[in-house]
């Protein structure tokens, strides 16, 4: 049985376009909740052996020693995360001492398992490099695909494979960022360096997946019969790689789920971003990148006939 992917592709393209628009809208309205890696600042991670104090009480206590605008957030069952502007070690110690003085009792011991301070120059560097990395990865991948598919220039020029792979990839990334924008707005999920890593990994994987499908189409194109249309070739290529697409996604999902459930809380969001991105990547290779190839070819042909006429 052959599933006619291309025939119903319009529906999926509309769904994808809709999702992408929603994603962009979410990013435009809410933006992302940037972590201190990007904004600069300090982050104190506190744990209490007894009941943790109210957030407002902590903020008030910190105000008294001159640490203003602290953001306090509950974490886990017995922890608090305190975010402030960039602190010197001196004011950090003062802040910690104050919190201990105010809230520590015999049965409620306060400890600080981790503390992070990122100065403005470090965060600025990270912002710039992250942006450049994303741009350069896109360009690098496009060049590579154009090179790898150089033998196939008909009916679609090889650089267009690269461009379409990039479109599918942008779709995946927009969905991931959009979901994190929603999560940031409603659940306070922050975007930090690990998120950039996840996005870059998704970039790589999304194209990885698209290439496998394109490779099959390329192989068929090189040896195609006269009677076959591009649509038939794309459909049969998709059908033949479907098993692989599903199985690869399953094995990667298995490892990601293992990490999500057993890998500790600190990599939760990182793994979540990867999970979303990998599903989107597998989906977009089949439902976006390949059908678009057919549309590009039709569009080219129409232009050509228009010119001739």
């Amino acid at each position: 049985m052959t599933i006619p992917f291309v025939k119903y592709s319009k529906f999926w393209l509309f769904v994808s376009a809709g999702l992408a628009v929603l994603g962009i809208a979410a990013i435009a309205t809410w933006g992302l909740k940037w972590g201190i890696d990007f904004t600069g600042g300090s982050l104190m991670d506190l744990t209490f052996t007894g009941a943790r104090p109210e957030n407002t009480a902590v903020v008030a206590a910190l105000e008294e020693v001159g640490v203003s605008n602290a953001l306090v957030q509950k974490s886990g069952d017995n922890g608090l995360i305190v975010r402030t502007a960039t602190m010197t070690e001196e004011s950090h110690q003062k802040a910690l001492a104050t919190i201990k003085k105010e809230f520590e009792t015999k049965d409620n011991v306060i400890s600080e398992p981790s503390f992070e301070m990122i100065g403005p120059s470090v965060s600025q560097q990270l912002r710039q490099r992250s942006l450049w990395a994303i741009i350069l990865v896109c360009i690098g991948i496009m060049i590579y695909i154009a090179y790898a598919f150089r033998a196939v220039t008909r009916p679609v020029p090889s650089w267009k494979y690269g461009a379409l792979a990039i479109i599918a990839m942008l779709h995946d990334v927009v969905i991931v960022i959009g979901i994190f924008s929603v999560l940031g707005h409603f659940a306070g999920v922050e975007v930090d360096t690990t998120f950039v890593v996840a996005v870059l990994t998704i970039l790589g994987f999304s194209v990885h997946d698209t290439i496998v499908v394109y490779d099959r189409i390329r192989e068929k194109l090189l040896h195609r019969g006269q009677s076959q249309t591009l649509e038939e070739i794309v459909d049969s290529g998709l059908n033949q790689t479907l098993g692989r697409s599903i199985n690869t996604t399953v094995t990667v999902m298995i490892t990601l789920f293992a990490m999500y459930f057993f890998g500790g809380a600190s990599i939760h969001n990182f793994v979540l971003a990867l999970l979303i991105g990998f599903v989107a990547g597998a989906y977009s290779s089949i439902f976006i990148a390949s059908p678009l190839l057919v549309y590009v070819e039709r569009w080219q042909r129409r232009n050509l006939t228009a010119k001739k006429a």
Binding site: I118, T255, A258
Partner: protein, 697 residues
Amino acid sequence: MAKTTNVAKTATRSQVKWRVAGIAVLFVVSLFVVLPSYANKGISWVNDKTNLGIPTLPAKGFNLGLDLQGGVQLQYKADVSDIAPSDQADSVEGVRDVIERRVRGGLGVSEPSVQTSRVGDEYRVIVELPGVTDVTEAIKLIGETPVLEFKEQNTETARSLTADEQKQLTAYNNAANTKIKTALKEINKTKDFLAAVAKYSEDSTSTIAKNGELGFIDDTIYPEIYAWAAKASIGAVSQSVITTSDGLNLAKKISERDGETKVKASHILICYKDATGCEKEWSKEDAKAKIESLKATATAENFVSLAKSNSTEPNASETGGDLGTFGKGEMIEAFETAAYSAKVGEIVGPIETEYGYHLIYKSGEVTPKEYEVARIFVDTKTATDIVPPVDAWKTTGLTGSQLKRAEVTQDSSSGEIQVSLQFDSEGTKLFSDITTRNVGQPVAIYLDGESISEPTVNVAITDGNAVISGGFTWDEAKLLAQRLNSGALPVPVELISQQKIDASLGSDSIDSSFKAGFIGLICVALFMILYYRLPGLVSVVALLVYTGVTLGIFKLIGATLTLSGIAGFILSIGMAVDANVLVFERLKEELQFGKGLRAASEEAFLRAWSSIRDSNITTMISCVFLVWIGTGFVQGFAVTLLLGVLVSMFTAVIVTRNLMRWVFGFFRHDTANWMFYGHKKAEVVPAVNVQSNNKQQ
């Protein structure tokens, strides 16, 4: 694809066997690297049985990043705005060196990582201190500007006590004496040692809190109390005052036990070329032959004379190889084990250590007692408590702030490498005075309170230019100049980022990521076997090889494992099977065309290769840019994922392919059966497939 010939390359059966054997060896070697302790057990077992002397593997663990072992990371910006551009890099290196010395010496961090990096125009120093939890102290210690001082010899001796001070001292010690005697009287009356501890003891609060108990002592701690306890019976309280180095004591013996057994032994060492500290030119084999012949003649009676005439240990001709009495942990492990397991009077060996071959004669064994004691302590004073002893060096007022610069130069006539110093006008004057005063005497150069050089003044130097010479190598001289410059040119550093992670958080992370990796691996393996059956099983073997080889490479190149790195590795497990999935799906198709098993599998590998290659290259492109972003988390992840992808291409293609050839060789008929997923021939072969199947160039 277009350029590859479509004739599947086949290997002969024996080639395949050799390759499979090669893969097995690779796997075993990588396991040895990953788990050296098991391997070492095996090696020492073989050594015991055969006397081959195979060297054991270094039992080094993985390099763990700060997020896994806990610790502190500090990033500093070095303010080089006041320094000439050409000297900036050097002065930052100087700062790096000073920080490293400070954290090693001051904080006792054994493996700090102190690196410099340049971001745009900014110089940064990144300090990683594994195991450190006291950030405040670390920051204080590092942030100080290096202090360079010149000192001269102190000729003064400590002044004697004044009559007044002498009187005070006597009065203090008399009072102490009276106090302890009163305590003794009271104990004898009330029989209550505990109450007397609380009432009289001037010990540390923690000791008093433990009722004055010192725990079990041996003769190295409070030898005077130990000597008393050796004669006293259990429960007894000393009836005379025991004087120790710190004051006056009354002791109570609570219990006794056997301490650690110590060994009395002599040895003969035969070293060989390249062994530590060896000056002989013998080969290892000659040394071994020599020690074997000595062993044949050695007896308890002639051992000392044999040692005197043969042992290559320095001074052996005087000591006769006598090592005295030693306890556990004082000798090299192999030596200790042999000495402890030998019977008294026995000669054992040869034992191999880094110094060479040893023959050990065990002359005795002692088991000293340890005594559990409590004490009442009363403090006394000595003259040095009032007038401290005099330092060998005294300050001259000349410091780094008066040093203009230090650089490495070469003496024009002798060519000797030296460090030349240039002082400013104030420094020139001070230095001139100091050298005039100290002709023929040494002066000392102190950096952060530590003497780094003690040159002798040959002539008075009045022009502010000095040289320090002393047989430096170029690198040593450069290091010294750097140190001097960093003292001389204090580069202010500013803390721009810090991160502290508790060790407990780190070990939790290790546990959970290990668990996640293990569960992930098992699930992927199960999935592959259940879905693809026999080829699935082969791919799981390849996956194990993959896991072993990748971890082995991490260890060999000393990659630092971070939480993100482990995440990258776990993810790469999932992606590593992708190549196999591609091949197996192809295999299924080829089998459905009705091809024979072997031909189908060769074809599947050939055709899947371009997909595997192209798709992995894009992941690698991502990884390369991730490495470039450059912060710890990102790099750890990217490096492990990159390595993982590279190794997975090798295991998926070479390992799986040859394993499959080997396994398929056992099939009598060249046809697939129930052991292969999707082995049934397709009933209607679609036209498309015929096309692709017939392609031949």
